[in-house]
């Protein structure tokens, strides 16, 4: 387990280093000087030079890269070009929307997919199975922003159960906050739940076809017990992989849904920062999200080890 852990940790660090270089290089080629962008076309050359020095834009690319990485390691993400406030503070604020939203959506996805997938697998070929598979087929094909628009029409405009957009803020209380995140979370969860249901079903079916399940059944173990005590745990590995991928997708991929509902999350922050050439914000948020994806995948790998001891020795 120790070697496995060290190997994976080293891989994690290398992946992060490469990702940071790629992100930095991508933004190096963005046309437009942020200082000129901030001061407008009529700025005097000396003001421009002073601002460039203040923002740390006058160093060489290599120097700026290491300044940026060094700062991030110390928790100093720099100062936003447009808002003139520390980027770390902005990210933390937005995190309070994006993280709960991602967790909420993931929770919904798992809460729907586990029972639905297990139910369909245990009644393979029945009308119930066909029904579940049909619904998931639709769920995967629905563009989630369109589904969000239709939900807004029904639940916000017609029935007035939920707000049509915006975020109440956690200061208004947990209920108000969750209420403004409910429709976005459902919209995000729908395709994810559909995918997860299918993975759960097919993984469980694979497992149920194994010899040890047949042996257990032959020894008189009930079907229900065979599924719950033997099948499920073994079927969880692919399901865990997908959950991990989904979490990182939900954290970063909510941009469009955040736009539909005018939610002040991380995705919307990047979206706005890109259009105002606030490169330092873009760089930091993207790297943070990539870090989150890599870290989640790492955690999933570790979880495999817990679920399946056979994998501990392998790379």
């Amino acid at each position: 387990m120790g070697r496995f852990l060290i190997r994976r940790l080293l891989g994690l660090i290398v992946a992060l280093a490469v990702a940071s270089v790629v992100i930095f290089l991508c933004l190096e080629v963005v046309p437009g000087d942020p200082a000129a962008y901030m001061l407008g076309v009529n700025a005097r050359p000396d003001t421009l030079a002073a601002l460039r020095a203040e923002l740390g834009l006058d160093g060489s690319a290599v120097q700026r890269y290491f300044d940026w990485i060094g700062g991030m390691l110390r928790g100093d993400f720099g100062i936003s070009y447009t808002y003139r406030t520390p980027v770390s503070g902005m990210i933390v604020d937005r995190m309070w929307v994006s993280l709960p939203l991602a967790l909420y959506a993931l929770g919904l996805s798992v809460a729907i997919a586990f029972p639905a997938g297990i139910w369909a697998a245990s009644r393979r070929g029945s009308a119930a199975d066909l029904g579940v598979m049909g619904v998931t087929q639709l769920g995967v094909a629905v563009p989630n922003f369109w589904f969000a628009m239709l939900m807004v029409l029904l639940f916000a405009i017609k029935l007035r159960w939920f707000p049509s957009g915006g975020f109440a803020g956690w200061d208004e209380g947990l209920f108000a906050g969750l209420k403004s995140l409910t429709l976005p979370a459902i919209a995000l969860a729908l395709p994810q739940a559909s995918i997860l249901t299918r993975v759960m079903r097919s993984s469980l079916l694979d497992t149920l076809g194994e010899d040890y399940i047949r042996t257990a059944r032959a020894k008189g173990v009930s079907r229900r017990r065979a599924i719950w005590a033997h099948g499920l745990r073994n079927a969880l590995i692919p399901v865990l992989t997908i959950i991990g991928l989904q979490f990182s997708f939900l954290l970063a991929g909510a941009i469009i849904i955040e736009n539909v509902f005018y939610l002040p999350g991380l995705g919307r922050l990047v979206f706005q920062a890109i259009s105002s050439r606030d490169l330092i914000v873009v760089e930091s948020v993207v790297l943070l999200l990539v870090f989150a994806v890599i870290a989640v995948n790492f955690a999933v790998d570790m979880a495999y080890g817990l679920v399946d001891p056979r994998l501990r020795g392998r790379r």
Partner: protein, 270 residues
Amino acid sequence: MKGLWLGAILVSVFVGAALLSLVWVPYDIIQMNMAQRLQGPSWPHPLGTDHYGRDMLSMIMLGARTSIAVALVAVGIGMGLGVPLGLTAAARRGGWIDEIVMRGNDLIFAFPSLLIAILITAIFGASAVNAIIAIGIFNIPVFARLVRGGALSLWTRDYILAARVAGKGRARISIEHILPNLTNLLIVQGTIQFSLGILAEAGLSYVGLGAQPPVPSWGRMLADTQTMYSIALHLALVPGLSILLTVLGLNLMGDGLRDLLDPRVRRAAR
């Protein structure tokens, strides 16, 4: 098999509409006609008209062209680069090319795809071409990984050994013996990536980063009607259902083709 047929019919309807739009659409969509705006479905306008009085059927036909073209070329990019990379990686298993290809793949997978697509279109400007590139980049590792995995198992077969003994080089074996045996896998995955591409294009256009006006696109039709669909529901239903049905059709086709082409699945009949 029913699924495959249903999928094929759905896809042909939209591909047919896209092809027909190359030579004919019922109405000119550049021309506004405010007297006819926000009309529901009727004989002259089977899918109604939008907030500028433009015929929705014509918009959907032209939008189909954009969506299908973007997704198709993005699949082409993914296959064009991913397949040779995957073949090379498998032919030189464990070598430095394999290592670079696989680590590069891991890296691309670590980037949240939508975020990077937005970054790319933001850096290089919003356009259908940049949307294609943004979606296409994420198709490369999908195909590279698929082909590598499939090719690795083929390399252990006896007929490959026979070809090697006969003196064929790795590149020739890859092209003449490995690739033809991966066609089924590629067709199925291609269909799936195609449907994902349609969804991605719709999403990018919806946030204004896909095809730019006056080129119609389904995603932007939805964005344009954001403030009006509560009074004229067909504005949201028509483009949304077009996306849904195209993607559904492609997914059904993908599943059906996999069942049809993969004897193992056919036997298990899931």
